[in-house]
């Protein structure tokens, strides 16, 4: 008969203390590493605030001259050039927000012409370099609110959209303006795939388009607009979500009916034609009550999102009598 004495247990079967402690160590390790991430971020953020000044990074663009200041600029501190040019949505290049910066680097913005047609007295094609001269370049420091819940303060340089519209002299029957992005699948890799319906199209009601806050941006931080932000010409409508700001525009058409818009085609229950910034109308996937200001410390509270992105005094009257829950 074989009775095992305690010392018969082979040493390999005794659970070693290290194994026994394994799970406990795992949890401790988890807490420690978690704390390390937090500390690292805290340090980075604090460093950042002191070291980097806006415009100090990769300012490779050509300087624009003759820029005048505007009464429409906010006094809020602009987001750094680095963040503005390395974090944005440009689905023609990538659905990732960090990738367009690199992918758009060699995008060709010359030669470039913009066509104005539709219900106008003077249909025409304007070369980008003459377009830059139809009105004095203005600096417009605007809040920028993305539908995804983040925001920036961007020192655009541009001309009022109304100045371009006047060039075409629209007919009274023109009720909307439709914009179109260039179709260049050889340069814009995602245009080869059906991520969205290409080319990207956007639109504004005529009175929105004529509003002094609506601009066509051609620059950023006093320099020629970086490719990643929609060079050579993009729309900026600061009281609307960022995706209304169509990039690399080649076509402006005047029409009598509400034109189709890309994200509305993609998901009409999520993105309306108007897409005014509105904290009271939630996107199905994001609350729109608050926003994360890019450049803020990781632990800084989010900002409250303001009606019309804080431009209510100027634009609310455009929507008198409209139900903005329905016409979101």
């Amino acid at each position: 008969m074989l009775i095992k004495k305690p010392n018969d247990v082979p040493s390999s079967e005794i659970t070693s203390k290290s194994t026994y402690m394994n799970r406990r160590r795992f949890m401790t390790g988890a807490l420690v590493t978690g704390a390390a991430v937090a500390t690292g971020l805290y340090i980075r953020k604090n460093d950042d605030g002191q070291v980097s000044t806006p415009g100090s990074v990769e300012a490779s663009g050509e300087k624009l001259s003759g820029i005048v200041k505007s009464q429409y600029s906010t006094t809020e501190k602009p987001t750094s050039l680095k963040d503005i040019t390395n974090y944005n949505n440009y689905y023609e290049f990538s659905t990732d927000k960090y990738e367009p910066a690199g992918l758009a680097k060699n995008f060709r913005t010359r030669p470039w012409t913009v066509s104005l047609d539709g219900l106008v007295k003077k249909p025409r094609r304007i070369d980008i370099d003459s377009l830059l001269k139809i009105a004095p370049l203005e600096e417009r420091i605007y809040r920028h609110r993305c539908v995804e819940g983040w925001s920036m303060v961007i020192p655009w340089v541009g001309i009022p959209l109304s100045a371009l519209i006047k060039q075409a002299d629209p007919l009274p029957s023109a009720k909307f303006v439709a914009f179109e992005t260039v179709m260049a699948p050889d340069q814009m890799p995602n245009q080869k795939r059906d991520v969205l319906q290409w080319p990207y199209v956007e639109g504004l009601r005529m009175d929105e388009a004529m509003h002094p806050l609506a601009i066509l941006a051609v620059g950023l931080y006093d320099e020629v607009l970086p490719n990643v932000d929609g060079a050579p010409l993009r729309l900026v409508v600061p009281w609307k979500y960022g995706f209304k700001g169509i990039k690399a525009i080649v076509k402006v058409k005047f029409v009598d009916k509400m034109p189709p818009t890309t994200w509305n085609i993609m998901a009409s229950n999520e993105y309306g034609f108007y897409s005014n910034v509105n904290p009271n109308v939630d996107h199905p996937r994001w609350s729109q009550k608050k926003e994360r200001r890019i450049g803020d410390s990781l632990f800084a509270p989010k900002h409250d999102t303001l009606m019309f992105n804080g431009y209510g005094d100027q634009v609310a009257s455009l929507y008198n009598g409209m139900d903005l829950r329905k016409d979101f």
Binding site: S12, T19, G29, V37, Y91, W150, L196, K289, R292, F299
Partner: protein, 212 residues
Amino acid sequence: MISVPDKVLRFGMKPLVFLICLGPLATLVWKAMHDLGANPVDVITRSTGKWTLTFLLITLAVTPVRKLTGMPWLIRFRRMLGLFAFFYGSLHLMTYVWLDKFFDVHAMLHDIAKRKFITAGMTAWACMLPLALTSTTGWIRRMGGNRCQKLHRLIYLSAAAGVVHFIWLVKADLRRPLTYGAVLVVLLGYRFATWLAGHAKAKASSRQPAPA
């Protein structure tokens, strides 16, 4: 069958796998100390989310891989891998609770009720919780292997909810979430196929007269 000495497994491979599993976190810490880009919360959220789903799928791959390759000792890694899924899932959840919602319970409840991708994500994490809690040797003994096995089938639901969470949060271009979905379908398909085969076999053998 490929066998590995217990000592090599316990003192060599297990710590090694443990360290490898900490890699994604280490990368994140390293990046955090250098540059996490314009939206650090976004980076942390996406990284922890990606690794949660990845570890869930790796955990689910253990059984098929061990059976198909004849490496039964792979089972010894399963608990650790599953716990890493839970670990990254918890970091993912904490990022949301802390850095996105700043512990605003009302806002979170609103999100869970209203936003289906949050509902799916919460479901995925909630399904992992009992599995993590009952993963200790003591609990496994107390519950008994059979009950434990049944409970741990929750991982199928968790992984499915995780994939759905990913699909629902993407605005356009479903390639990435659908890749995870395809892997999950294969892994669950394998289980379904073996179950069917086992079922058929049991049926066939019950029909046969017992040998005299």
